[in-house]
Point group: C2
Chain length 358, copies 2
């Protein structure tokens, strides 16, 4: 139904010079303005997207759930990346991609997103509008609409511009159930492309490093790549995106969940020259740098070759490679054959390598 016209005339938000005030969070007319003049236009779903009711003003959205027998997949992420804009992306697109990917890693079709914002008093409305536009664009490109949202405001010095928490809902077909707990000795370990770009792009932007121009975040939604992979090999054991903690921690998580070891081949892991150079200068290990557009797949040996073919045929998997093999090892050790012919342990990252990269 058509919304009734506003009852009292009021000025539109000044998207050029205006700033977030505490009153934008009070639930009154200014809160409604923020939704109507920034979020709703930015999040307008594309043609053919599934349609929710959230945009009409209720506090929740009622949505079709596609098919009997499918499981509901839920994933949630808080995003606190600093700076808000970086080569290859921004906090808005990142929030959309990150959550779509978490849903896709369970083999599910992402259907809907929700977004909750925590804004700092004084934030320029132009910055918020730019982030919202980027989120909306990323959601439309992925064909996963943002169906519900919420905004809260905190005082200056109690936040940091914009934090965004996104939740994704998806549908997992019967018989599809990849999980970090399903790795088996003998599995092939596949990686969908070059590592290290996202974390170093954010870091370089933050610190103003010289080499920042070559480092562009790989932030991307991987659900169409996953769909192609599952069509070729529905029995993929594990899918995981190596975000925070990078490839090194992600493989350790899988090893611990499944109670297996792994052997990696360093020379097979695609590392861009700019990443290797930046890591050398900064004393960082590319294995622990966050990625936002890459995935790891563990599968039975016979699925490895067909999967690699499918992955390399997809624009987001062109540089896919087999990087190792799962071993029987209840200690969960991950060993790596180095380029120089030696062997080293790939341990958990204990502390912190890069703060606030997602």
């Amino acid at each position: 139904m058509q919304p009734s016209p506003p009852v009292f005339s009021h000025r539109a938000l000044d998207l050029k010079h205006g700033r977030i005030e505490m009153a934008h969070g009070a639930g009154g007319r200014l809160s409604a303005q923020l939704v109507q003049e920034i979020f709703l236009p930015a999040f307008e779903p594309g043609e053919g997207a599934a349609h929710g009711r959230g945009a009409q003003g209720d506090d929740a959205a009622a949505l079709p759930f596609p098919q009997a027998g499918e499981k509901l997949v839920l994933a949630t992420d808080a995003h606190v990346v600093s700076p808000l804009f970086f080569p290859g992306g921004d906090i808005g697109a990142l929030a959309v991609h990150g959550t779509i990917n978490d849903v896709a890693m369970l083999g599910a079709r992402p259907l809907y997103l929700t977004a909750s914002f925590i804004l700092e008093e004084g934030l320029p409305l132009s910055v918020l509008a730019r982030i919202a536009a980027s989120m909306g664009k990323a959601a439309r490109e992925a064909n996963v609409p943002i169906v519900a949202g919420d905004t809260k405001i905190v005082e200056r010095g109690k936040g940091d511009g914009v934090f965004i928490s996104t939740t994704g809902a998806g549908a997992q077909p019967p018989g599809i159930a990849p999980s970090g707990a399903c790795a088996r000795p003998g599995d092939a370990i596949l990686l969908s492309g070059e590592i290290g770009l996202h974390g170093l792009a954010v870091l370089s932007q933050r610190e103003g490093f010289q080499f920042q121009s070559e480092l562009v975040s790989d932030s991307a939604a991987l659900h169409t790549l996953v769909a192609a992979m599952l069509a070729a090999a529905p029995g993929i054991h594990v899918l995981r995106d190596p975000t925070r903690g990078g490839l090194g921690n992600t493989l350790n998580e899988i090893a611990q969940q499944s109670g297996v070891g792994m052997i990696l081949d360093e020379s097979a892991i695609p590392i861009p020259g700019a990443v290797a150079a930046a890591c050398e200068i900064l004393g960082l290990d590319p294995l622990y740098i966050a990625n936002e557009g890459k995935l790891i797949a563990l599968c039975a040996e016979e699925d490895a070759a067909p999967l690699l073919n499918v992955m390399r045929a997809h624009p987001l998997g062109r540089d896919s490679a087999r990087i190792g093999t799962v071993l029987a090892d209840p200690r969960g050790f991950i060993r790596m054959q180095t380029r120089l012919g030696g062997e080293r342990m790939v341990d958990w990252l204990f502390g912190e390598q890069l703060p606030r990269i997602c």
Copy 2:
């Protein structure tokens, strides 16, 4: 399956004296410790709860969705209440109740919750553990499990202790579709109890007011009340919880969504003596104070009496009352007959009455 034992021994978190460090957010072993030693034990679902897979270490949860033909309802909320603990609740229980209520207001059975945390460096782990325990307790009492989560850390001075974003998923049965857009002239306006308690409880705790002992938040999960109401009157037109912006703004939102007016009877609106007194002293209007355990129902005249009976028979609706009637008025004006026999407009709250009350 059983998780494998940790590969390297490490000290348990010091829940008494420890504090959040940036490294707890880096996705390494310290991040895993936070999940395993604080969140998972706190969020252990109760007996008989629906069961997800998120707890086993994947980045998402795959969950049964109950019944063909039901719609998926999604609602999300950011919570930034200050202080974190207040009479009658805390940010953790509030986050659970608030999101369950948003799902319930679409007539849906809440099924699952996700929780994402943004923690400030330096936060005492004891505070986080207390909040997580309260969330877990609230979720178990409501029988709505927390199935997926995420945690990010921001530097000291870039956050404010704990922010929590919760998302709720529920199932809306066929034929049930209350919405703020469904109010019709002649509808009865019902309110489930006394207003003003939550906002003033938070404010009093924050400011250290004398009268704080009498003001206890009404924070509560309303889904069982809603279920009883829908069993008695499946055709309820509108359900809404008057949180931020209070009764006044919530009724204005409904009036605008539906293109109707309303007439209220001030003497019928239950306002506790302590709320009236505190509002008098502070110059606040109880109509705009946030509630976290109350709902408004708009229904056809013939449903009003049976609904009030059901509401008053429920522990969370004992003081339910009919407070007004919907009028045909495309301008969306809300008028109130005052106790003194006059009439006044109940307008939108334009700016801010109380910051950070949820």
